[in-house]
């Protein structure tokens, strides 16, 4: 008994010390964004029935649309963040369209670099969808239990595992620095751009736009639009609404995107080809006022205002508001 009493005392003391140490260095708990967490939200969206509004897109949606704010602004609906960083939203849109248990609505991002370009950023969404459809019945309970811990403990962060810390000490001679992003349990990605070299980030995104694959040709674009529209129409036939949204980008990056994917050749064709309403942030002054510090993503403080403005715009247009 005394062995276990000492064991527990030592373990609790060591873990508490470590937790306090990392917190003192500025670390805060963050939920791990993995297939399990995504799957949990996906399942909740199915359970919410016709009131569900799922947000599918890229990291711009993750950092820019706060489901908690949207829930507050449009209480008749329940918003679920299903965007996946660096990935195409269209496999998920297709899956939602084919899922007979999904009866909700969708806000789908139209990211120029993903929608209007031939790239195969579908690996993660496909893997996560596969996990969602084939997970065992204990998987959701496991995910919920893990979230409980991850929400509360910095020790659960991947950045402070002993191997990562040791490696940092040996190779760079310093302890890890807190990450500027952290996930909430509702998958809102809180990005604090006050702690980032924004010029360097902007250069990175610009390189991505300029050196990525060529934009779609006209026939390719028409084919893609037709596929997207087919999925959207199917959701509409089930009684759901679909809204396409081009998220905010700023400064040089916005200019580069406009240059590579000229509005009249891409966005306008897209809007004409789909049967669902489409919102471009540039056309809504309240949305266009939000600025991305590094060109591509919104800071978490700006994201709150952006989400409120988006909710107001949806209400103004009568979208996703009335209970069907």
């Amino acid at each position: 008994m005394r062995t276990w009493a000492l064991t527990l005392a030592l373990a609790v003391a060591s873990l508490s010390t470590l937790e306090l140490f990392w917190r003192a260095r500025g670390f805060q708990p963050s939920v791990r964004d993995r297939a399990e967490l995504w799957s949990l939200e996906r399942q909740r969206a199915n359970r919410a029935g016709r009131n569900a509004v799922v947000l599918i897109g890229t990291s711009r949606f993750l950092t820019g649309l706060d489901p908690a704010v949207l829930n507050q602004e449009i209480p008749a609906r329940r918003f679920f963040q299903l965007a996946i960083g660096g990935s195409s939203p269209f496999p998920v849109l297709d899956d939602l369209a084919k899922d007979p248990l999904f009866r909700g609505n969708v806000i789908c991002e139209v990211h120029p670099g993903v929608t209007f370009r031939n790239n195969a950023a579908e690996q993660i969404p496909r893997a996560w969808l596969d996990f969602f459809h084939h997970r065992g019945w204990v998987a959701d309970t496991e995910a919920q239990l893990r979230i409980l811990l991850q929400q509360r403990l910095t020790l659960e962060l991947a950045d402070v595992t002993p191997t990562v810390v040791l490696r940092g000490l040996l190779q760079e001679g310093r302890l890890p620095k807190p990450n500027y992003v952290r996930f909430r349990a509702d998958r809102f990605l809180m990005a604090d751009y006050g702690r980032v070299d924004v010029a360097r980030q902007m250069a990175h995104w610009l390189k991505g736009v300029r050196s990525g694959e060529e934009p779609l040709t006209e026939p390719q674009l028409r084919r893609r639009c037709a596929q997207i529209n087919e999925s959207a129409s199917r959701i509409q036939q089930h009684g759901g609404q679909v809204v396409f949204l081009r998220m905010v980008s700023s400064g040089e990056l916005y200019k580069a995107e406009e240059q590579h994917f000229p509005r009249e050749r891409y966005w306008s064709v897209f809007v004409r080809s789909v049967s669902a309403p489409a919102i471009d942030f540039k056309e809504v002054p309240a949305l266009a006022r939000s600025q991305c510090a590094e060109g591509s993503h919104l800071d978490y403080r700006v994201a709150q205002r952006f989400s409120q403005a988006l909710a107001a715009e949806l209400v103004r247009r009568g979208l996703l508001v009335s209970r069907r």
């Binding site: 008994m1 005394r2 062995t3 276990w4 000492l6 064991t7 527990l8 030592l10 373990a11 060591s14 873990l15 470590l18 791990r32 399990e36 065992g136 019945w137 204990v138 309970t141 496991e142 239990l145 893990r146 811990l149 991850q150 020790l155 659960e156 991947a158 402070v160 595992t161 002993p162 191997t163 040791l166 490696r167 040996l170 190779q171």
Partner: protein, 476 residues
């Protein structure tokens, strides 16, 4: 449900709580049986039916065998058990493999055949529980044990959740007598059970998944252009990963069983300290080695005893071919089994010719023997882990011909150092403890040091939230 999950922690606490309530022994056993079925159903509920059929068929066969009046009838009953168990195992595990191979074989002789590939899911733990169930009916047939009267006890024997999906493969004579009387758990048993659980999780989560698996995954990833150091580091990382993963599972099984008052047999005894391959198989996956020794090797050796050493060698080869097939439906596993068979035959012949040489008993010769055994066993893990023969051969070529692959190492030095440190430490520790057991070592330590070590493992577990990998042996 896997041991390294929070769902298991909650499940286990509830099961423990109910098990230690003042309830009749039969109710406690029912609790354990339902908990075991729930544990199994967490993966894929429909396959519970298969487990139930195995339970009822083998229990009923054994009952009837005891009442059978003739040998022919007893043999017929044994055949029913063999056909059911091996049939189910064959169908679920090898159907895809067979269809694929037959197609390829026909293609080689110019016959183009495109069969519909059966899309069969391998039920979790089927290789383990069919072998366990088979050992029972064979032992009853051989009159080594009497048929067990209680179906509840037998169902618990097959489904007992601590060892359900990856062994140890228990024998009826070991487990069923434990079901007769209530099994009170003393505080020290409870404490030791939890210590084993923590040790097993530490082996799995921290050592296998956290430290060794990333290196093994990198080195065995398709398309990696490896160098000499990468290949050796990856091979040793796989050796360590497989050991800590599987030994970790078995240790968790022993620990959780003990907390419930049941003994689960030891499955690993410092295997990388083995000097020679027969010694290795006495230390590695002990319950499986004993199974194949008793039910495959011994009957074959008896049958071929007139051929003396060559008969034994042939029996060894056949046994380890079967062992390879048991491990997986792929030629790489068969090759792995055959390689171990050859190792054992070579050792048999070597021992026969050198049994009087005193020089071989010197300490440094034993150490060299241990290291050589470890290296050869690590090489044998390559086909076990590689996706196909080509990948394994390419890796072997790099390891054996350093001149062609002496470029800059792809793994960063931290990863190489990690593997070297962990594997050197493992070999050193296993060598030091080779003639004892974890329990004996723990008893020798002062109580406070034991507490410090277990606390350190708990801290490491909490601070290593890596990938949630299933146990490697679940796939078998």
């Amino acid at each position: 449900m896997i041991f390294n999950s929070l769902a298991f922690a909650v499940f286990f606490m509830v099961v423990l709580f109910v098990h230690h309530l003042p309830l009749p022994w039969r109710v406690k056993k029912l609790n354990l049986m339902f908990a075991s079925y729930l544990f199994y159903a967490a993966w894929n509920p429909p396959f519970l039916a298969l487990l139930w059929v195995s339970t009822v068929v083998d229990w009923a066969v054994a009952q009837r065998m005891a009442r059978a009046s003739t040998d022919a009838r007893r043999r017929a009953l044994l055949m029913i058990s063999l056909c059911w168990n091996l049939g189910a195992l064959g169908f679920f595990k090898y159907a895809n493999f067979l269809v694929d191979d037959v197609t390829q074989l026909l293609a080689m002789v110019g016959v183009v055949y495109h069969p519909t590939m059966p899309d069969i899911i391998l039920p979790l733990g089927i290789s383990f529980y069919t072998f366990q169930s088979l050992s029972y009916t064979i032992d009853v047939y051989l009159e080594k044990i009497k048929p067990w009267p209680s179906l509840l006890d037998y169902a618990l024997f097959l489904a007992f959740f601590p060892r359900m999906v990856a062994g140890p493969i228990m024998r009826a004579a070991f487990f069923l007598p434990q079901c007769l009387q209530p099994r009170p758990v003393t505080a020290s048993q409870f404490g030791w059970g939890f210590t084993l659980l923590v040790l097993g999780l530490f082996e799995k989560v921290v050592l296998a998944d956290g430290i060794l698996a990333p290196v093994a995954d990198f080195v065995f990833a398709p398309g990696t252009r490896l160098q000499f150091v990468d290949a050796w580091t990856g091979t040793f990382a796989v050796s360590g990963q497989i050991f800590f993963d599987f030994a970790g599972y078995s240790t968790c099984a022993m620990g959780s069983g003990l907390c419930l008052g049941f003994l689960v047999p030891e499955n690993f005894r410092f295997p990388y300290a083995a000097v020679g391959f027969s010694d290795f198989w006495r230390r590695w996956h002990i319950s499986f080695s004993r199974w194949i020794l008793d039910y495959i090797f011994m009957p074959l050796q008896m049958k071929w005893r007139e051929w003396r050493t060559w008969g034994t060698a042939a029996a060894l080869l056949m046994t380890f071919l079967a062992s390879g097939i048991w491990h997986g439906a792929a030629w790489t596993f068969v090759f792995w089994g055959a390689l171990h068979g050859f190792y054992l035959v070579a050792e048999l012949l070597y021992r026969k010719w050198t049994h009087n040489v005193k020089f071989l008993q010197r300490n440094w010769v034993c150490v060299a023997g241990c290291l050589s055994t470890f290296v050869l066993i690590s090489i044998a893990w390559m086909p076990f882990r590689a996706r196909d023969f080509d990948a394994a051969l390419a890796m072997l070529r790099i390891m054996m011909m350093p001149a062609d692959a002496m470029g800059a190492c792809l793994l960063d030095w931290c990863l190489v150092a990690r593997v070297v440190l962990i594997m050197t430490g493992t070999l050193w520790m296993q060598w030091r403890l080779r003639n004892s057991s974890v329990e004996m070592q723990a008893e020798r330590l002062p109580w406070w040091l034991r507490a410090v070590l277990v606390a350190a493992m708990i801290v490491a577990l909490f601070t290593s939230p890596g990938e949630d990998r299933a146990f490697v042996y679940f796939q078998f």
